[in-house]
């Protein structure tokens, strides 16, 4: 009964209720919870079980497997496939590895650069194109395209646009009097901004979409009050819109940060981590260690460190989402 107060009790439940009303209260609640567990939760459990089993087998097991591998020295190309137990040495090595350190710094620059620019531009786009006019709607749907494109194709297109000899971008930069050297992707100080621009091009529209949803859910009363009080548009933006958008901002920030940490395709297609290791983000470095140098144990250890970093961010994200609901 308790369980179904909101809805209409089924015939069975009414019958059960009549039967149980003769028994003691304690007895009643026990039978009810057992009944609920076996019939209702049982049915739901059956619907959830296939996915749960699938995920445990193909996702949770590999993650444990990855932890095991990370405790071994294991070279994939070794003809004998020897795996030597080395304990936590791979982790110790990771923390003292200069390459890892520099790729971590590169990752932080990439994440900070992409996420901050995309947040600002995304909010700008949402404000610019938020109107419910036909033309704004058409432009918005065109702007959805970049984020739906394969990141690899996006990377290759920009690589062509950036090409020093026949690319469009260096051509116009040269016309404007800039020296582009070997092209934006090959110059040490230009490679990172150039790659960030590709990311900004692809993912700013996602933030526009999220901010549009956030703006739409804002209450109208504060704005009406502001008009009555004679506030300017800028004032109502800074003192009403921005504070009210804080939760959306936080969600967008965490979501994009997590995604940005995982960048791979864009780097692979444009610079391949270069020039030097200017754009070798951690994710790309792990791939290189594992799949180019075949040091599976070390790669797994690095991947697990990245996993922990992203997991902490994810838990923060979940906590923010939870608070949102209250």
């Amino acid at each position: 009964m308790l369980a179904n107060l909101a809805g209409i009790p089924s015939l069975n439940e009414i019958r059960g209720f009549l039967l149980m009303s003769r028994r003691s209260n304690l007895n009643k609640s026990i039978t009810l919870s057992i009944r609920r567990f076996f019939i209702e939760d049982g049915a739901y459990l059956v619907m959830l079980a296939p996915l749960l089993i699938f995920v445990i087998v193909v996702a949770i097991y590999p993650l444990f497997f990855s932890f095991r591998i990370s405790l071994f020295e294991y070279r994939l190309t070794d003809p004998n496939q020897t795996q030597t137990f080395v304990g936590f040495q791979n982790y110790v090595r990771a923390f003292s590895d200069q390459v890892v350190k520099s790729s971590l710094i590169t990752t932080l620059i990439y994440v900070a650069g992409t996420v901050s620019i995309e947040l600002l531009l995304g909010l700008g786009l949402a404000l610019l194109l938020g109107a419910e006019t036909q033309i704004a709607r058409v432009i918005r749907s065109f702007l959805l395209m970049p984020m739906a494109l394969p990141p690899l194709v996006v990377g290759l297109v920009w690589k062509a646009l950036y090409n020093a000899d026949f690319g469009v971008i260096p051509y116009y930069l040269k016309l404007a009097g800039f020296n582009v050297g070997r092209g934006p992707l090959a110059e040490l100080n230009l490679a990172m901004p150039a790659v960030i621009l590709v990311d900004v091009w692809q993912w700013t529209p996602l933030l526009m979409v999220i901010f549009l949803a956030g703006l739409k859910s804002l209450p109208t009363e504060p704005y009406e009050a502001a008009i009555v009080d004679g506030a300017s548009r800028w004032q109502s933006f800074f003192y009403i819109t921005l504070p009210l958008l804080k939760p959306t901002f936080l969600i967008a920030l965490l979501l994009r940060t997590m995604q940005s940490f995982k960048v791979f395709d864009t780097i692979y297609a444009t610079t391949g981590g270069g020039p030097g290791s200017q754009t070798t983000v951690l994710n790309f470095h792990i791939y290189t260690v594992g799949m180019t140098f075949f040091q599976m144990g070390y790669a797994a250890a690095l991947a697990n460190i990245l996993l922990v970093v992203v997991a902490i961010l994810s838990i923060l994200y979940i906590m923010v989402l939870e608070r949102q609901q209250l």
């Binding site: 209409i8 015939l11 939760d41 290759l156 469009v168 989402l321």
Partner: protein
Amino acid sequence: MKKTLLEKVILTVLTILVVLFFMIPIYWLITTSFKFGREAFAIPPKWFVFDFTLKNYYEALTQVKTTRFILNSVIITTGATLLSLVLGVPAGYAIARSRSRLLNISSYFFLLLLMVPPVAMLIPFYLIMRDVQLLGTYAAVIILDTVFDASFVVWMMRSYFSDVPREMEEAALVDGASHLGAFLKVALPLSVPGIVASALYVIIYSWNDFLFALMLTSPKTKTIPLGILASFSAVEIGWGRMAAMSVFAIIPAVIISLFLNRYFVQGLTLGATKG
């Protein structure tokens, strides 16, 4: 609060700049696919007037196994989409409807799974697939895609079902339907828009996947992004052909963002911002 003329002009100019910035790379890609090699990289660039040719498409379809790559992409995308919907939609429903705290919390488990860096999953998965002799098969990519796809579907459908009133299902239960029957006959038909939204997201995700396919496919099961990359590095000046193959690769993105954008946006925002 009326906008002045100056403000209107500034906003219009800004809008034009935004549209140019986001559309030029796509315009460049599509026009390059119709250009001859020498014109593709003419200096100064030929934006509007050039000799139109279908040579790149002809080459992409005859000299490179583009049709094979597309077919492989279609097989993997279809497999991952169907599997993740079959596994994910009932699970999302169960989480949304159950009053058990344990089941409710399990949705966060799927959200966490969605956040796992692909490379962290890939290394062990590659070794496991090698040991069970599935490396290079469609199944390997489909299974790994489905981990992420299905986790998204659960998260998305849970939000969606929470907004569908449960009264009708409860009426069906009173009429003697089982919980499974109430789900299949009442809740499922009501939630078609939500299923479409999650399916579109999942289709895009699987179609665009590069890293998993890079590690898990063989030459026979290569998907279109890999095909583009391979044909590109194999030939010195393969830009035109690369563009033609890329146009095939962006068809789903174009269709979904221009014609099904209502569902796509729903998938993006509901999945991202609703707890």
